[in-house]
Structure formats: structure tokens, C-alpha cells
Amino acid sequence: MARKVAIVACSQLIYEKKRNSSREMMVYEVINELLKNAGISKADIDSFISAQNDYLEGRTISNMRTVGPSGAYLKDESKVEMDGAFAALYAYLRILSGTHDVVAVYGESMASCYPPYLPMTWTLDPSFDRQNGFVNEISAAALQACSYMYKYGITEKQLAKVSVKNLENATKNPYALRKINNIDIETVLKSRLLYSPIRALNAYPLTDGACAILMASEDKAMEMTDKPVWIEGVGTCHDSYYMENRILADCDCLQLAAKSAYKMAGIKDPLKEIDVIELHENFSHEELIFYESLGLCSKGKGGEFIDTGATLINGILPVNPSGGALSANPVCATGLIRIAEVVMQIKHEAGEHQITNKKEVNIGLAHGQNGICAQQNIVFILKGARKCEM
């Protein structure tokens, strides 16, 4: 790649179940925080990319009124109507093209404003799936979990371990919404059953929140920070809509996206070379499937992998030290939060949930997803500068 792109700053707001503010003020606050963290003013930013979804907002052209609060007044701005990580991809493409040097990316959604879980049903094929009413976000996830468990002998306990790990990690993350102190497998297995085998603690919480990151070209990044986090690789993939056409027990789409990203970043052995992973896991079983798709373990061994403790915060490859989407999922922002959390880990600025058992956290993987049962996936490989390189 001729040009290099880095993430120079990020900002998050404390995720809430019901935030007491308009989404515009929420955007204003997260951007203000970003400018403060980056030490710049809006004049230094060339363009803004937002991640918002009209059906989550309940209004069309949802970026029409976030122009002002985000600082995009009289600036180049656009909107990606997908998970925030895809907006980050667009910003990355803009900077690589050479026409923009500094791009701010923000994503937001407020679950307290929209009817819960319905917006996803509006992605369904209107002439058949929507008429049947069988498929919604959670029932589809349940079908996937069931298929996965049956095919590979994964147990409910192993699913619960994901929730325990992530929600325990979340207790050390000041931004997280759902934190449960001293959580154990029993608590998860006793939580309310939604669609078997998905229980309340296996599913993401409805969240109000926003996240923003600032990306810059190499020259600008070096001016703005002494800890730039470089984007080494990115890969994305879009799978078939029809669940019948997919092998739900696997996530081939993520496998392909990861393959692309690894190739770009020159990663041959993810388990050895990556220091931290932040996944966008809407449901606990997804995280186990994702372990396999990312090549951390072989197909069907996701359950065994989590049993080894490898993905605990003090394990050999911590996954979701922030708590992941199970602890906070403001839908369009979640992918950006994953990127922001990896950036914080690499810069050693994650505070109480910083990974400490490694010599250094240098290479991280951030993941975003869209659609039912992760129909679209995106993977970023991020890298800091080793101390000796600086």
C-alpha cells in the first residue's frame, strides 16, 4: 500500500439502557470527546463518515440533522448505513485515495427510541419471511446456535462461558452497560429463556450509545500522536441472505473476510501473531463460531477452545477484554467500539481492563457484523509500533 493510515484517537460514551438525551446531543458529546482526545478542532478534519441506520432512527435521511452536532458543517460528509466498522472501512478508502487526510468516523444508535428487535425483521424478504413471522433476530440466532451445538457437540455450558467471560470483563470497563459481578455459569443458565437455547444473558442488551474514531494519513498521524495505531489489513464479505443457503454452524463469510485481512497484513498464524481480539458477538454462540472462522482453532472446536481459557483476559489470546457486544451493543456503533477498544489496548490506555499478562499488545483484530446471523462481516488488523521501531 502506497499510503499508510492510522487511528490516532477514539472516544466512547458510557453506554446506557435509556440515555436521557437526544441522539444529536449524544453525537455532539462523542465528537467533542474525540476532538479533546485528539487535541484538535473540527477545522482540522477533512471529512466525516457516520454509521446510522434509518430504521433504527425512525427517520429517513438520518444524517441530515447530525451534520451540525458532529462538526460536519460545511465539510465533506457521508453516511454508511451499516455497522460502524464498515464506516471505518469507507474512511480508510477515502484516506488511501489521497484526497482526504483526516477523517472522523462516528456511529450511534438509541435502542430506547425504536421498537426492540423489530428493525431487523424489516431486513427480511417481505413476500415470504416477513409474512411467516418465524424469523426474527433472536429466533434465527437460536436456529444457528442449535445447528452449531448439534453439529459439533457444543454444550450450553460452553455457550455460557462466553457470557461469563465477557460480562466479567465488562465489570472493569467503565463504559460497559451490562456488568455482572461474580457472574458464573449458573447465573447464565438460569437467565430467562428467549428462544432455546438463547437465554437473556446469551443475547446482547438493548443499548443507547455512540463511539467515534479519528483516522489520519501517515504524515498527519505522526503530527497528531506519538502512538498511532496502523491499519495493516482489512477484509469484508457478504454472504447469502437465505439461511437455507448457508451452513449456519459455520461462518464461512467471516472466514473469507479474515483470510483477506490476514493476507493484506501478512498474518500466517493468527493464534500466535495476534495479541488481542475484539469481536462483535450479538450472541454467545457467535463468539465460539467466530473463533473457528478466524482460524484460532479448527472447525467444531470452538467449545474446546474456550474451555482451555485461552480467550480469558489473562489468556494467551484475550477475546473481548472490553466485554464485547454482550456487554453493550449500540447497533451501528458496535463495530467502531471494537476498533476503539483494540486501539486502546495497543496504546496501553484501556485502564482497568487493560491486558497485562503480555509483554506488549501490538497486533489486534477488530470485527464488525451486519445482518441476520452475521450475514456480512468485516475484519480489521491493527498494529502499533514496537518500542524499538519508534
Binding site: 500500500m1 502506497a2 441506520n53 434509518d54 430504521y55 432512527e57 425512525g58 427517520r59 429517513t60 435521511i61 444524517n63 441530515m64 440533522r65 451534520v67 451540525g68 460536519a72 458543517y73 460545511l74 465539510k75 465533506d76 460528509e77 457521508s78 453516511k79 454508511v80 448505513e81 451499516m82 464498515f86 472501512l89 469507507y90 480508510y92 478508502l93 477515502r94 488511501l96 485515495s97 489521497g98 484526497t99 428493525p119 431487523m120 424489516w122 431486513t123 427480511l124 417481505p126 413476500s127 482489512v234 477484509g235 469484508t236 464479505c237 457478504h238 454472504d239 447469502s240 441472505y241 437465505y242 443457503n245 464461512d252 463469510c253 473469507l256 451486519n370 445482518g371 450475514q375 456480512q376
Partner: protein, 404 residues
């Protein structure tokens, strides 16, 4: 910026109702057309960039459903939506994708199937949210007047008429000209080859100064374009169109401000964001005198008066001169700077697609593939424009006939 070529354009014929196809099927027609045009197939495409205006069909992110129909199976897909300017934003997304070097060949799609839903309900979803605050404080009746697009753009018209001396008579003529242009465009929705300004003048006035005849239709349609690198373009087509400059700019709403408060966009006809975007795009393209260097313009004109406003805001003449130049025939199909030889949004309006159709039409003019509505002079440089939101989102793209 790396050279980005446009090697093919595919469009469906825009009509008021396509009840015989659903969205994936309708968009597929445009995809099939562009693949046939270029001889490419899904395996040659590295990424898809797509978008529409989500409110009209009642489907959230339709490419999740339709992607497989369009060849996007197991490919990178990005969705971009920005209201009326969606098509242009999507095209620019594809341009950046190729210019970045990450993807070589990108298929971009924009579409709208307005007949699937109620257009006014869709547009209403913006105003309901906008007015939520006003209504809770006992808003006056003024807000109901704003729930349609015409209620918004009409203020632009009056302000501009006052400053430039534009008359309703001239808007009638402009509307008739655009509809007559569309009659030569096989893809356009409203074709009226013999329509005159008098016919337009007979249509009822909706809100001064705009008549029914000055407004755009609601169409079902899709457009697809393929962008690629200079090296690959050579193998696909003898004469591609080239991207020379692109920019977008956004500002405060033109009628109501944030939450219904005051808007600092004092004059809705000023369109500063359009001027900024045009300046940036022209600078990138190396254009210093647009009045002399542009041979075709496709601004986004859902209402007749905007032909004059955007002719000026795209710097195709001095401020205030557009009405005079219109009368002199400068904007005719065989004039010095033909405006919307395709008939424009006034004749063809599948909202999500409309702004990309502007870019596609400019590309067709440069590639000399516009058929009956090909302008008479050689086209070396063309400018396409998209407008969205509360007339506060402007997107400008400049195309040329040679790479950098």
C-alpha cells in the same frame, strides 16, 4: 488520486409502477445491462457499493436480501445512504474504493421502488422526527406545510426569483425543455416530446411559485455503473469516461434548523455547500474556468426553478445571469452548456437512483453513448450534482474524457 474510469452504465427504464418485479429483480435488470455492456461478470467485480433511500419500500438494508441476485455473493459490500443525494454519494463511495487501490473493479448500484410504498409517508418520516420537538410545544400550523418536498424547496424559488429576476414564465419554459429532452431518453419516465411552456402554465399552482408542471415524478428504477482502474479499463472499452474531481459538502437545513429551531442557512437559494463542493471538485479536476471548460451539466433538479439556481452554484455562469443565459439558449441540447440532456430529475425520479443517474448520464455523454439525447458538441468535461436532505447535502462529481 489514482485514475478511476467508468467503463459501463446500465439502467432500467424508469416508470411510475413496476408491479411485476420486486426490488432484487428490478435492480438485476440494471446489473444485467451493465454486465452485457462491458462483457464483465460477477467474478470480475472486486466490491459492490450500493444504496437507496430506505424509507420508501419498507425494507431495511435491502442489499442483504438482494445482494445475491446482483452478483455480490461473498464479495465486499458497502451501503451508503444520504437521502436525495444517495446516488451520488454511492458513486463517490465506489470512486474512493477504486482510487484507494484496495479494490480494482467496483460495481455500484442505486435504485428506488417508490411504488412499493407511499412516497409521502416515506418523506414524512423525516418531518415527524424533526417536528417532534415543535409539536410538544404546541407548534403552529406551519409545520404541516413542510411535510412534503415541495413545501421545502418553494422558498428557494422565491428568494432566487427576487435576486435574479427569474419569472414563473421562465420556469415553465425550463420544465418544458427538460420534458422534451427526456422524450429522447429511452430510460426516462416522463416523456413529453411536444410539451410547451403553455402546457406547463396550464397546470395548477401548488404553492407559489411552483406549479404541478414544475415538479418531478415518482419513479421506479435502478442504475448500475462499473468503475475500474486505467489498466483494466483499456481492455473493456475503447472510450471510458474518467473521474476528474469529486467532493461533497453539507450545511444546516434550509428551512428549519436543528429540532425546529432557527436555521443559520439564511437564504435557502444560496446553497453555500454546493459552491464549496463544486470549488473543491473543480480544483481537483484542474478546472479554473467552468463557464468555458464544461460542456454538459447534469444538476439535480426535482423542481424547475433549480435549473437556474444550480447552473449558477456550479459556477457555470455569474450569479444572477442564469435566466438571461437560459433565454439565449445556452442551456439547450445544442447550446453552449446543455443542462440535463437526459431530462433530469424533473422527468425521471427514482429518488435513490436519481443522483447516480446524473453521473451515469454525464458518463454516457462523454462516452458518446447517449443515443438520441447525445449533445451536438464534443464533450470533454461534464459535471454531475446530487442534492439531498433539507437541500443541505450537496455532492458534485466532475467527469472527463481523458485520464490524468
Amino acid at each position: 488520486m489514482r485514475n478511476v474510469a467508468i467503463v459501463g452504465v446500465g439502467m432500467t427504464k424508469h416508470v411510475s409502477k413496476r408491479r411485476d418485479v420486486n426490488i432484487p429483480e428490478m435492480v438485476y435488470e440494471a446489473v444485467e445491462a451493465v454486465f452485457q455492456e462491458t462483457g464483465l461478470a460477477p467474478k470480475d467485480i472486486d466490491a459492490f457499493v450500493t444504496g437507496n433511500m430506505p424509507a420508501f419500500e419498507g425494507i431495511n438494508t435491502p442489499e442483504l436480501w438482494g445482494g445475491g441476485y446482483w452478483g455480490a455473493y461473498r464479495k465486499p459490500v458497502i451501503r451508503i445512504t444520504t437521502g436525495g443525494s444517495t446516488g451520488a454519494s454511492v458513486a463517490q463511495g465506489a470512486i474512493y474504493a477504486v482510487a484507494s487501490g484496495v479494490y480494482d473493479t467496483v460495481l455500484t448500484l442505486a435504485f428506488e421502488k417508490q411504488s412499493d410504498g407511499d412516497t409521502s409517508v416515506g418523506l414524512n418520516s423525516t418531518s415527524l422526527a424533526d417536528f417532534a420537538n415543535l409539536n410538544s410545544y404546541g407548534a403552529t400550523a406551519v409545520t404541516t406545510q413542510l411535510s412534503s418536498a415541495i413545501g421545502l424547496f418553494v422558498y428557494q424559488a422565491t428568494s432566487y426569483m427576487h435576486k435574479s429576476g427569474l419569472t414563473i414564465d421562465q420556469i415553465d419554459k425550463a420544465a418544458a425543455m427538460l420534458r422534451r429532452n427526456a422524450a429522447k431518453n429511452p430510460y426516462a419516465h416522463l416523456k413529453q416530446p411536444n410539451i410547451t411552456a403553455e402546457d406547463i402554465a396550464k397546470t395548477p399552482m401548488i404553492s407559489y411559485p411552483l406549479r404541478f408542471g414544475h415538479t418531478c415524478p415518482a419513479s421506479d428504477g435502478a442504475v448500475a455503473m462499473i468503475f475500474t482502474t486505467k489498466e483494466k479499463a483499456k481492455k473493456i472499452t475503447r472510450k471510458p469516461a474518467w473521474v476528474k474531481g469529486l467532493a461533497a459538502c453539507s450545511e444546516d437545513g434550509t428551512v428549519l434548523g436543528q429540532f425546529g429551531g432557527g436555521s443559520i442557512n439564511i437564504d435557502p437559494a444560496e446553497q453555500r455547500s454546493c459552491k464549496f463542493a463544486a470549488q473543491k471538485a473543480y480544483k481537483m479536476a484542474g478546472i479554473t474556468n467552468p463557464e468555458k471548460e464544461i460542456q454538459v451539466a447534469e444538476p439535480y433538479i426535482p423542481f424547475g426553478h433549480q435549473l437556474f439556481i444550480y447552473f449558477e452554484r456550479l459556477f457555470l455562469c455569474k450569479e444572477g445571469d442564469a435566466p438571461k443565459l437560459f433565454d439565449q439558449g445556452v442551456m439547450d441540447l445544442n447550446g453552449a452548456i446543455p443542462i440535463c440532456p437526459s431530462g433530469g430529475v424533473m422527468s425521471n425520479n427514482a429518488i435513490g437512483a436519481a443522483a447516480m443517474v446524473r453521473i451515469a448520464e454525464c458518463a454516457l455523454q462523454i462516452m458518446q453513448k447517449a443515443g438520441e439525447h447525445q449533445v451536438t458538441q464534443d464533450v470533454h468535461t461534464a459535471v454531475a450534482h446530487g442534492l439531498g436532505g433539507s437541500a443541505n447535502l450537496n455532492v458534485v462529481t466532475v467527469l472527463g474524457d481523458s485520464p490524468n
